[in-house]
């Protein structure tokens, strides 16, 4: 295939029966698959073959799904375009010549191109929702703790969740049903039934938005492209015509989400990626010198530029003299954002915004300018900082110009998002 969707094509067969029998689910290449290499899009792990399955893989197999391959991604999930992959960029099937978004770009492209029925991605600051929006498919970022991260190779533990991508909201909900639920091997998982929900997500996809109150955070429209904003309001009009109503609301904390997100994510990454020293797995290079010199040489060789940039900035933000200035203030911002969302969601059932403030970049356009890439995450990162669920659904009528609408709900409010989102896709 021409899009470079998969890093590894394979066939992992699931059980004969189950809710996903007969369907294919492409899996992002940072989720461990027993006996099938799992690279995280990095040269560091080019040869790494996990000795065990992640929990979501066990659940996919038990549900009867077939896994057709491991999908391309930004290296270790660090990117918004899938261009930081050591395995080359992926073309966008919905807008050829453009990036598929990231970091789960291969997973979204697999669904958009019909190479897989469904896909799993991971979302640390928008990495499921961004590629869903750019490729014109549906993506769900679950509430923090709804889906087990056991077997997910960590980038920023306090922010990331595994989530489904699919052509429709109902199909994404079916996949969420299979992967959600507590896991004793991930102590951060929580049982949705203790938090006012159940796991019957697919049945919520009835498109009923009669009486739904939508809050529209003005901060998330301010910097967006006109073309994106036009499509966004058309979709809100559509929901209004079906019985929903909306009001604008201000969440001033969201102005600081991108900085807070990057400080926290980079700090966690600098710690998580310390394990890649080339001794137990990864590229050691056989360098001479003491262990510090050998590790530094192996990491220079195995990591790409964006990964190095984030490890170094995270190390800087946590270093003596800077911790209070960056990391502690980012945690304050995180708490402030959580408070703002709580308040806004006490006056609205869901909050709506464009998923991405821009349409897909052309391939190669943003690689030289890290800040430009980071700012594209303005609308998605607040959700991870607040541990909330969100869905991106395709809207608009221009097939060459995919636009996603993001709906954010209260913790464990996935069914509400699925119900509202299914009115659109």
């Amino acid at each position: 295939m021409s899009e470079n969707i998969y890093i590894t094509e394979t066939t992992i067969e699931g059980d004969e029966d189950g809710p996903l029998a007969g369907r294919t689910v492409a899996v992002k290449d940072n989720i461990s698959t027993e006996g099938v290499r799992t690279t995280c899009g990095s040269a560091m792990l080019e040869e790494y073959v996990p000795p065990y399955d992640g929990t979501v893989i066990e659940r996919l197999k038990a549900a009867g799904a077939t896994i057709p391959g491991k999908t391309n991604m930004d290296e270790f999930g660090m990117g918004t375009t899938t261009e930081t992959s050591a395995f080359g960029s992926t073309d966008n099937p919905a807008a050829p010549g453009h990036v598929p978004g990231g970091s789960s770009g291969g997973s979204a492209a697999a669904v958009a191109a019909g190479e897989a029925d469904l896909a799993l991605g991971t979302d640390t600051g928008g990495s499921v929702r961004c590629p869903a929006a750019f490729c014109g498919v549906v993506g769900i970022k679950p509430t923090y703790g709804l889906v087990s991260r056991y077997g997910l190779i960590a980038y920023a533990n306090s922010l990331e969740q595994i989530g489904p991508l699919a052509p429709s909201v109902e199909e994404a909900a079916e996949l969420l049903e299979v992967i959600a639920g507590p896991d004793e091997r991930d102590g951060t998982t929580r049982d949705a039934t203790d938090h006012g929900s159940d796991y019957e997500y697919a049945e919520a996809a009835d498109g009923d938005v009669d009486g739904l109150e939508i809050g529209v955070p003005t901060e998330l429209l301010d910097g967006a492209d006109d073309r994106v904003v036009d499509q966004f309001w058309n979709a809100i009009d559509d929901l209004e015509a079906r019985g929903a109503s909306y009001h604008e609301v201000s969440l001033p904390s969201l102005e600081h989400a991108v900085e807070a997100y990057y400080v926290i994510a980079m700090s966690e990454a600098s710690s998580n990626l310390a394990r890649f020293d080339g001794v137990r797995y990864g590229t050691s290079g056989g360098y001479d010198g003491n262990w510090n010199e050998a590790f530094a040489a192996a990491r220079e060789e195995g990591f790409g530029e964006e990964v190095k940039r984030r490890i170094l900035l995270g190390t800087y933000a946590l270093s003596a003299g800077y911790h209070d200035k960056y990391y502690k203030k980012a945690q304050d911002a995180r708490a402030w954002i959580q408070q703002d969302f709580d308040e806004a969601l006490s006056e609205a059932d869901v909050l709506a915004s464009p998923t991405m403030p821009v349409t897909p970049f052309e391939l190669g356009e943003s690689l030289d300018d890290p800040m430009k890439m980071y700012l594209a995450d303005a609308n998605t990162t607040p959700v991870n900082l607040a541990n909330l669920p969100a869905i991106s659904v395709p809207v608009g009528d221009d097939p060459g110009l995919p636009v996603g609408l993001q709906l954010v709900g209260p913790a464990f409010g996935e069914k509400r998002l699925i119900r509202a989102g299914s009115a659109l896709a």
């Binding site: 797995y281 220079e300 190095k308 980012a330 911002a333």
Partner: protein, 92 residues
């Protein structure tokens, strides 16, 4: 540019802490980029001190003996092993 510019020596110092070797070219480029990125992060100064009251609970389980990866599986991805152990570079 930032009012606290980052110079290539400082990048080199951080890279040492992070155990990542850098080429001279990377040091220069990162110094420029870090100046811009860190000056964007300075906006966090405007964030008010905010109390957070996360619901934290200990997650415990009984300490039961169970099977784990066997030694061969655990060593399978290592480039060098010796007598059933990982072999790393010398310490100093």
């Amino acid at each position: 540019m930032s009012d606290s510019p980052v110079d290539p020596d400082e990048v080199e110092h951080i890279a040492g802490l992070a155990r990542v070797e850098l080429s001279a070219e990377e040091r220069e480029r990162f110094a420029d980029q870090f100046g811009e990125i860190l000056s964007a992060f300075e906006a966090l100064d405007e964030v008010p001190e905010t109390d957070s009251e996360p619901e934290l609970t200990n997650v415990m389980r009984p300490d039961e003996v169970r099977d784990s990866l066997d030694q061969a599986e655990a060593l399978r991805n290592a480039e060098e092993t010796e007598d059933g152990k990982f072999k790393g570079p010398r310490v100093s």
